[in-house]
């Protein structure tokens, strides 16, 4: 049995909404697990069930070899960082960190030492006497993390903690969270709807949709090998291009081009997925793109345009290529990196 074990966990709200469907998942000790999915997919509910803030309708959750279904949140020894930090507004930073320890009846000197250590680790030692209202967003974020670290819990739970920060700070805190987790080595679950955050932080990633884990794996596995249309569309930025197509006798025909020998026995209506970064310009082209708009990011250019059938399409090319608006590009798929999904079920078929 692994460190955290979810077995057929289901959540049905009193009004009948099914937020989580028989989900099973295990997280190893020290692992950084990320739940990613669109809003309302049940990822936060799952996290809150681990924390004990939501009742479990069906199924079991085991933490460190102990069934915790009925254990009170205060007894579970988990720490959580909330989206809006949930700092205690009437206490200064020191007391915010110390409160959980005080409730556990730890003596004063030990508390002081632990708080000071955590403050040093997070570089908030200078603000210990301040109230949360006198801190900036990034500092508040650190205090929230400090409150989790100081208790030395069995597991850290992060509920979209970076979504209230501005873009630059978000990237910085993302790095810091990752470094911190590696340093402290505590098992962590991180919930986010931002796939970049998910990819960069995760040891393993669970892509959740409609209360079901669509795919579980390392970020690279999921990026390289998405098992469903949803995962393919959700992971990767800019989003994967999808084209309608049809397979007959191992030949896929889409609007304007054909791919032979697709290595699948599937026949029928499909969606063809091509990542913008898996395209290149070449003579013997497959796809003809009329350029509408070019976004220059410096290192890369994102080229947006339309195919013959007026379908929107994106192509990512190195930043040193100059592409004019209105140009006609002939593109080829690099190394046959394309994904085919059954149109009716969304399952991968190649």
């Amino acid at each position: 049995m692994s460190f955290l074990d979810l077995k057929n966990v289901t959540k049905i709200y009193p009004n009948g909404t099914k937020a989580v469907h028989e989900t099973s998942l295990s997280v190893d000790e020290g692992e950084f697990m990320v739940f990613v999915g669109p809003s309302g997919c049940g990822k936060s509910t799952l996290l809150r069930m681990v924390a004990g803030l939501e009742d479990i309708t069906e199924g079991d959750i085991n933490l460190d070899g102990k069934l915790i279904n009925e254990v009170d949140p205060s007894e579970r020894d988990v720490a959580m960082v909330f989206q809006n930090y949930a700092l205690y507004p009437h206490m200064n930073v020191y007391n915010n960190l110390a409160y959980g320890l005080k409730n556990r009846g730890i003596d004063k000197e030990t508390i002081e030492q632990k708080v000071n250590d955590a403050a040093k680790l997070l570089q908030i030692s200078d603000y210990l006497q301040r109230k949360p209202s006198m801190l900036s967003g990034g500092q508040r974020q650190r205090v929230a993390m400090g409150r989790a670290i100081v208790r030395n819990p069995k597991i850290f739970l992060f509920d979209e903690p970076l979504s209230n920060l501005d873009a630059k700070l978000r990237i910085q805190m993302r790095l810091e969270i990752k470094k911190l987790q590696q340093k402290v080595g505590v098992t962590s679950i991180f919930v986010t709807h931002d796939q970049v955050e998910a990819m960069t932080l995760a040891d393993r990633l669970a892509v959740i949709n409609n209360g079901i884990i669509e795919q579980l794996g390392t970020p690279i596995e999921i990026y390289d090998n998405p098992k469903s249309l949803f995962v393919a569309g959700f992971i990767g930025s800019p989003q994967m291009n999808f084209l309608d197509g049809n397979i007959k006798n191992k030949t896929l025909s889409a609007e304007g081009f054909e791919i032979k020998d697709i290595g699948s026995d599937f026949e029928g209506e499909v969606k063809l997925g091509i990542r913008p970064e898996h395209l290149s310009q070449s003579e013997n082209s497959l796809i003809n793109l009329k350029v509408d708009l070019v976004e220059q990011l410096g290192s890369d250019n994102l080229v947006y345009g339309q195919l013959k059938d007026k379908k929107d399409f994106c192509y990512r090319c190195p930043g040193n290529l100059t592409i004019e608006k209105g140009a006609d590009l002939s593109l080829n798929i690099e190394n046959n990196k394309y994904y085919i999904f059954d149109k009716s079920t969304g399952k991968r078929v190649n």
Binding site: D72, A79, F82, N84, A86, Y88, H90, Y99, N103, R151
Partner: protein, 273 residues
Amino acid sequence: MTRFITSSFSHLILLIGILIMVVPVWMIFASSTHTSSMINMNGLQMFLGDSFYENYLRVLLYQGGFFKEITALKMFFNSFIMATGVAILSVVTSLMAAYALVYYRIKYATLLFWIIFITILVPLELRIFPTYSVMAELNLVNSYFGLIVPISASAIATLFFRQFYKTVPDELLESAKLDGANTWRFFVDFLIPLSKTMIVAMLIFMFVFGYNQYLWPLLVTTSEQYWTVVMGLKMMSGSIVHRFAFVMMSMVPPILIIIVLQKYFIKGVFQDK
């Protein structure tokens, strides 16, 4: 220019309003510092006289009432006990009632709250007979307890605290839970400090409410030992200057409470926000 005129005009109106309110009080105060023969001959006075100490001291220590058993000093003491008791008891009960209504999973909590709220529409005068008979049966007539308890359930304070608790984000409770706080600790360590300013405001409000009670103390006390200041206003006999002095003194405690506590009130409001 037109702006200057309109602004002066509105200031003039405000000034007149202030005068209408302040002048009678000042006249009573000024008159209370004269001798009673002076008032009887010349009417109310606008300027201070020289009998201030003499009049006020006499009023404070004079044995009043039918049986000459009570001094004004004792009435102030009684009023203070009653007002403080009402303030503290009503704030404590409303805090706890609101806590239970908002945070406990009580069935029909909203309905219960509205039932509490409806009691605002039922004045003391309406329930005065049953309340009195309960107090009489419990043998609480002529006691501080009897003065305080029946008027210490405040629907208004419950409303205020309930509305405030509803604005406290759920994450705070959840975070506190994960930090090992139980129901009682959350109440004491979070809700009470967070509603500090509101508690002070309610204490002021309920203190003045308790201090101003007239009918209930009149009914529930038969011994002069339990007379309060507001009852005394009616019961005190004596010359006109002494009554004036008593009226002036009766205004002091509520004003004092507001001045003293408002400092904390404002401090709380500006520091926490």
